[in-house]
């Protein structure tokens, strides 16, 4: 574990946020398996320290762009369970009025510009958000979350080039969970990932993505420098996803062994590790942590219950929001 920070509240909030993500995903998985959730979804479980470590270093006005595996980013940036579950179930009260769903969940009130169903699709958006912040004279920082698989997309190199040329306040956060969908990343990525950013003169770091304190400490420093105009930066966060590529990717031994999954869960789980550290440091007792976990569980259960009973959007909404200035595009 990294050097201790001094703010108990921060630690406990980081822990709570990681548990909230895990709990959210457990519920989402159940909703999917019990066929209560339309479509499919991609679980963030196992990668919690990445989203929480980074987002805890950001302000509400800072922007993030997210990925298809986006629930963790959304929770970490401050989203509410109720609106999230409503969105996952396609309900009217969802963040996107049920029009986005799991893969397009967005919460602009907290600076989350949205998940994206195109691999690497948000890299331009993140860079653009940084560009407009600079043009408008704001000190907002944008973090662009993307996976190791997205490093194969040409868009990334185009926008990193521009971000470096124009010193844009953006941090590219590559969540390297070792698998590019159903393929080991070392089979599809030549060289090292950080070297690609370095080729543009972008300072790049690699960090243990299962260590929330390490992630947070690094991000705090880079965000501060980014605000001062020293960006962009690149972080490769070494992490692991516990589920398959998506919830339905169950028989996956052809590309990943159960032993490997067990090893990560037993020895490197970000929540278990941080919990032990909190207890060892005397920041929280086991009982306090259990109580926190129980609270989050019941918060999630209540949100799921609420979402299941919530209304679907009225059919008349189908042609709304196509254009900003036309209430019903097909009327």
């Amino acid at each position: 574990m990294s050097a201790a920070k001094t703010n108990t509240e921060d630690y406990l909030r980081m822990y709570a946020q990681m548990v909230r993500i895990r709990t959210f995903e457990d519920n989402a998985n159940q909703l999917y398996l019990s066929a209560k959730m339309p479509g499919l979804t991609h679980m963030y479980s196992g990668e919690e320290a990445v989203a929480v470590g980074i987002c805890e270093a950001l302000r509400v006005t800072d922007k993030i762009t997210s990925t298809h595996r986006g629930h963790g980013h959304c929770v970490a940036k401050g989203a509410d369970f109720k609106e999230m579950f409503c969105e996952l179930l396609g309900k009217e009260e969802g963040y996107c009025r049920g029009k986005g769903g799991s893969m397009h969940i967005a919460d602009q009130s907290n600076g989350n510009l949205g998940a994206n169903a195109i691999v690497g699709g948000s890299m331009g958006i993140a860079t653009g958000a940084a560009f407009s912040a600079k043009l408008l004279g704001k000190d907002d920082v944008t973090v662009c979350f993307f996976g190791d698989g997205a490093t194969a997309q040409g868009l990334m190199y185009e926008v990193m080039n521009m971000a470096a040329l124009w010193k844009l306040p953006v941090i590219y956060a590559c969540e390297n969970n070792g698998y590019s969908e159903y393929t080991r990343t070392d089979e599809i990525a030549a060289g090292t990932i950080t070297a690609r950013a370095e080729a543009f003169g972008i300072e790049a770091h690699q960090v243990d993505g299962q260590d929330v304190l390490a992630v947070n400490e690094l991000t705090e420093k880079l965000v501060e420098r980014t605000r001062k105009g020293e960006g962009p930066f690149f972080i490769e966060l070494m992490t692991y996803r516990y589920h398959g590529h998506h919830v339905g990717d169950i028989n996956r031994e052809y590309y990943r062994s159960k032993e490997e999954e067990k090893h990560w869960k037993d020895n490197r789980d970000p929540i278990t590790r941080f919990r032990s550290w909190l207890v060892a440091e005397g920041i929280a007792s086991e009982a306090e942590i259990e109580a926190m976990n129980a609270d989050i569980k019941s918060e999630a259960a209540a949100a799921v219950e609420y979402a299941l009973n919530a209304d679907y959007p009225d059919a008349a909404e189908v042609d709304m929001h196509v254009f900003t200035d036309v209430k019903h595009a097909l009327a």
Partner: protein, 331 residues
């Protein structure tokens, strides 16, 4: 009224809107000192600086994606895409991101950007610099598409596009950049979705877009000498489309030819013809004819290229055949 070229009209529109709204900026390849290969933007970088007239690397997906993100976060990018043919390069960012963000977010976010590009063959630029690809983007809900047919429209429509809160794609006819037309010196806007009846007639309606408006007007003159009274209509925007004006004319004349420089198959002509068939069927005395660019890649050789595009003589000939009750079985 003074006459200026289409190129000057675009330049004026950009300058006026950039003075009016400091959140606007131009981004694209060779837009600053070079002022684009067509010299449309000359002088703008001197007035607005390189912060707001931004030269990019040759990275269309990159700057398009950046513009999407910037537009979502408080600025109004005006993207310069050097040739309309390059729209294939930006399709993901334009169609999967910009066009859908308002809808996917349930109306909470939007992408107020303008993509300026061009269309038009017979410039001897061969297959990858001569296409008219506006139908591709008109097919995607969430994008508005404007097709100015003269300097006057180029200025009025561009100013409206910049103020629009939706993504707008505006295609200028690259062969008309040096064509002069009367353009008022005082400020004016041309609203979207209002067709312009360029010439009144009673026997046949010629609907032309962009470069084809002139072709239709010339055809109308030829026909007039033969005693056939042709009405010429310029829809000016194809999304939104001023259906009422087109239908009213179709009901009046009973005969319609739709002329557009996009490929004829699966294109703008088919869409407009189909709407007239659906909504004015019992007023038609002849099949609605489509005339588009020949369904071949644009050839380089002048001898070939010139026969791929509708001509005034061709339009007039089809009009005569419709007037004579030709069944067009062999057409």
């Amino acid at each position: 009224m003074r006459e200026i070229t289409l190129s000057q009209a675009v330049n004026e529109a950009l300058a006026e809107e950039m003075r009016r709204d400091p959140s606007t900026f131009i981004i694209g390849e060779d837009v600053a000192e070079a002022g684009t290969p067509f010299k449309i933007l000359s002088g703008l970088v001197e007035e607005f600086g390189t912060d707001r007239v931004v030269d990019t690397p040759i990275a269309e997906p990159g700057f398009m994606g950046l513009a999407v993100g910037a537009s979502m976060t408080g600025t109004r990018p005006i993207v310069d895409l050097m040739f309309g043919d390059f729209i294939f390069l930006v399709m993901d960012q334009l169609c999967n991101q910009a066009a859908k963000i308002h809808y996917m977010s349930g109306g909470k976010m939007n992408a107020p950007l303008v993509l300026r590009t061009n269309l038009g063959a017979t410039r001897r630029s061969a297959a990858q610099h001569s296409q008219s690809l506006h139908a591709l983007v008109a097919h995607i809900p969430g994008l508005k598409v404007a097709l100015p047919s003269s300097a006057y429209e180029a200025k009025g429509l561009l100013k409206t596009a910049i103020r629009d809160d939706n993504p707008v794609v505006i295609f200028e006819d690259k062969l008309m950049y040096n064509d002069k037309a009367p353009v008022p010196e005082e400020e004016f806007l041309i609203p979207f979705g209002e067709a312009n009846v360029k010439r009144h007639g009673t026997d046949i309606t010629l609907i032309g877009t962009s470069s084809m408006v002139q072709v239709c007007e010339k055809a109308a003159k030829i026909l007039s000498a033969e005693g056939i009274s042709a009405e010429v209509i310029d829809p000016r925007t194809i999304v939104p489309l001023d259906e009422e004006t087109l239908l009213a004319s179709a009901r009046k004349t009973s005969r319609v030819i739709v002329v557009d420089e996009g490929h004829q198959s699966y294109g703008v002509t088919g869409e407009i013809a189909s709407r007239i068939n659906e909504k004015a069927f019992y007023h038609l005395d002849a099949p609605v004819l489509r005339m588009g660019a020949m369904d071949v890649p644009v050839p380089f050789s002048p001898a070939l290229e010139d026969i791929t595009v509708p001509t005034p003589e061709g339009v007039a000939e089809n009009a005569r055949r419709l007037m004579a009750g030709d069944m067009f079985h062999a057409a």
